[in-house]
């Protein structure tokens, strides 16, 4: 049915609240961030705000004064690792939980459980587990003569934060893959069996291609989410020990070091640009893959 003229009015009216919310809480703050990045805004009430042009950008990209490049490296390692490992494990979990195993409903709930826990709870829990001074992980590793400062170690902190991020998000990824797998018609598997497809071949040639939309959703969510993450890092390491991702760097600039919100907004814009590049490269690739399959 095609709506014309006044008939379209109710459609626009019902769209209005959503559009308004998006404008007020999405577009306006984004534009404000871009604008603030060109000023010396400090958030101090009554203090005049000056337009400083690209000064903040020059400051951020000055190798001598910022840790931007180190932050970009940390961010890319974090985002790439989280996206790849989380999707592989999520898919594996979904395939396992799709099988008719005893207690399947229980295991499905269990895998989703971390998604309902708060960031602070998860952070404190893992900080206690990885407490080098008597935590269970330290005691276990001592049996093998291994010891580490864990979240206080330059070599362990980033992998551990990646692990915690994946652990916390795995449930959601699994559910999305499960939904994709459940949407595949059983007829296709039956046809595959008649053609002599084994377990692996069924997955390789039927399941995997047909869950391409779920893969696109999961990969995009993981990439965008992990490029912007700071919450787990804030709770676990405060951006120290090679975990100073762009999100953390921006947060610390805004709230911990100076009160230079202009500079923090500039870091935010760099973060946005990197996210945009990832999305612009990945989205067409994933869409093309969906179409090809």
């Amino acid at each position: 049915m095609v709506y014309r003229g006044r008939a379209r009015f109710p459609i626009y009216l019902t769209m209005l609240p959503g559009v308004l919310v998006y404008l007020v809480f999405g577009i306006v703050p984004s534009l404000a961030t871009a604008l603030i990045s060109l000023t010396d805004y400090s958030g101090i009430p009554g203090l005049p705000v000056h337009f400083v042009g690209i000064d903040n950008y020059a400051k951020v990209f000055n190798v001598d004064s910022t840790g931007l490049y180190g932050s970009i490296v940390d961010t890319v390692i974090f985002a790439t690792s989280v996206t790849i490992i989380q999707n592989i494990l999520g898919l594996l979990m979904a395939v396992l939980l799709d099988k008719k195993i005893p207690g399947r409903a229980f295991f499905r709930s269990l895998v989703f459980l971390p998604a309902v826990l708060g960031v602070t709870v998860i952070g404190l829990m893992w900080a206690l587990i990885f407490d080098p001074s008597g935590g269970p992980a330290a005691n276990f590793l001592h049996l093998f003569g291994v010891n580490s400062a864990f979240f206080g170690s330059d070599s362990w902190a980033l992998p551990l934060v990646i692990f915690v991020q994946i652990w916390a998000s795995l449930g959601f990824t699994t559910i999305v893959y499960l939904a994709g797998i459940n949407a595949i018609s059983p007829d296709l598997y039956e046809a595959g069996i008649l053609d002599g497809a084994s377990g692996w071949k069924k997955f390789r040639f039927i399941t995997f291609p047909l869950i391409a939309p779920s893969t696109t959703v999961n990969v995009m969510l993981a990439v965008v989410g992990s490029l912007n993450t700071y919450d787990f890092i804030y709770v676990l390491t405060n951006g120290l020990y090679n975990t100073n991702t762009l999100g953390m760097y921006m947060f610390n600039t805004a709230f911990q070091g100076s009160s230079d919100l202009g500079l923090a907004s500039t870091i935010s814009m760099v973060q946005f640009a990197i996210t945009l590049i990832f999305v612009l490269v990945l989205q067409p690739l994933l869409r093309r893959r969906e179409a090809a399959l």
Binding site: G67, D131, S148, F151, S258
Partner: protein
């Protein structure tokens, strides 16, 4: 009819008299918003003081909010920007950079410079408080905060462990090294410190006294911060290089994996015998005794020099109450400060927190005063012995990264001399 009229007039008169009075009473009711960070003994006693204040001023209700110290900066920022606090606790803002720009100041320094805090010079309690301590929250002659006292950094040691290994309190650096070696030979971790989440800034318990004793002690009459900003000294000064060298040496005697140990585990580290000495501030003493009421703790300033005369305790003014200039409840806030600063109430605070008092005179019997003995309240003010570092600017001189460098020295990425040279290379950019 007349009767009805009389009743009506009487009722109207009563309403006319009572309603404005009730309205005035309702209008006089106000809520005073106070925020501070979590230091359990301080929070607990402030709550008690608030109750006593509310009893004395029934028209004022206190809304007391706290946040973990690691998150407190965020609460301060939102309170200042959202104008949601009347009294805000801060760490004092001195020392300030000599050449100030909006980006080389910390948020609290920026607020002090830009009039966010109310001038408290004329408050009646000012005369009762140490000028030196109030100086840590004074800018351009304006006192912006009630500095509640000073905490002291140093070494808190388990007297029973020292006795067991026949150790005496070291007064020189060489003696300290010897104590560490003896403890280590008995498989006892000499020092305990926790860097997880707070990061290398908690190396201050080593770095600050070493810098004070080996470098700042050279500037009698002037302070290290001004000497640096006026180019009367350089980061490459042998005293500073020596401080970094000793810091690296002493870090070898910290408990294993100290970078991953939470700062919240520090009092428990000493209380539960995980190490013989705790590098900490006196604010954690009550937590040590809470974790182990039977422990026998002693105190000595970390000796960095082999000349005992220059080894001293570092004094750091701590929790400081400011009144925000945009507060709609300034009168109530000033009443609260005045109430807090009254001798009877203030002594409760000192006894409960163990802080060394800024109030002149008075006799205190807190655990801290007993443990610290003759050192209680005595030492060098940290505000004049600490270099003021910018929040932005040359990478290694930024306040956060400066501490990271010390961990990098320990890890062998830089020598103390290389680090000192890098600091000096960036310094002209800071002072220009």
């Amino acid at each position: 009819m007349k009767k009805l009229l009389a009743i009506s007039v009487a009722t109207s008169s009563l309403v006319a008299i009572c309603v404005p009075a009730l309205q005035a009473q309702a209008a006089a009711k106000e809520t005073l918003n106070i925020i501070t960070w979590v230091n359990p003994p301080a929070v607990s006693i402030i709550k008690k003081i608030n109750q006593e204040f509310e009893a004395q001023y029934p028209n004022i209700t206190i809304n007391f909010q706290t946040a973990a110290s690691t998150n407190y900066n965020t609460l301060m920022q939102t309170s200042v920007q959202g104008q949601t606090a009347d009294i805000m606790s801060i760490h004092p803002f001195e020392p300030m950079p000599y050449h100030m720009t909006s980006s080389n100041l910390s948020p609290v320094q920026n607020w002090a410079v830009h009039g966010v805090f109310m001038n408290l010079n004329n408050q009646p309690w000012v005369k009762n408080f140490s000028k030196d301590d109030l100086g840590a929250a004074t800018y351009n002659g304006n006192i912006y905060g009630l500095v509640t006292g000073v905490y002291q950094d140093g070494v808190f040691y388990n007297k029973d462990i020292f006795k067991k290994y026949h150790l005496s309190v070291p007064t020189t650096y060489n003696q300290l090294l010897q104590v560490c070696k003896v403890l280590q030979s008995h498989h006892v971790a000499p020092f305990f410190d926790g860097l997880q989440n707070v990061g290398p800034s908690y190396l201050m318990f080593l770095n600050s006294p070493l810098v004070t004793e080996l470098w700042a002690s050279k500037f009698k009459g002037a302070d290290l911060n001004s000497a640096l900003w006026n180019n009367q000294t350089k980061w490459t000064d042998p005293g500073f290089v020596q401080a970094l060298t000793e810091e690296k040496q002493l870090m070898q005697y910290l408990e294993p994996n100290f970078t991953g140990v939470s700062w919240q585990d520090m009092p428990g580290g000493l209380a539960n015998g995980k190490a013989a000495m705790l590098l900490d501030g006196s604010w954690d003493l009550s937590a040590v005794y809470t974790a182990n009421p039977h422990i026998n703790v002693g105190y000595f300033p970390l000796p960095g020099s082999n000349n005992p005369k220059v080894n001293t305790s570092d004094l750091f003014p701590d929790l400081t109450f400011t009144v925000l200039n945009n507060s709609p409840h300034k009168d109530a806030a000033l009443k609260w400060l005045n109430f807090f600063a009254s001798p009877k109430i203030y002594s409760q605070y000192v006894e409960a927190t163990g802080i060394s008092p800024s109030f002149i005179g008075g006799h205190y019997t807190s655990i801290a005063s007993k443990v610290m003995g003759s050192w209680f309240g005595k030492g060098m003010p940290g505000s004049v012995d600490s270099p003021s570092l910018p929040a932005t600017g040359p990478y290694w001189l930024q306040s956060n990264n400066w501490w990271n460098m010390q961990l990098e020295i320990y890890q062998g990425k830089y020598t103390p001399q290389q680090a000192a040279t890098m600091f000096q290379q960036g310094w002209p950019q800071v002072t220009k």
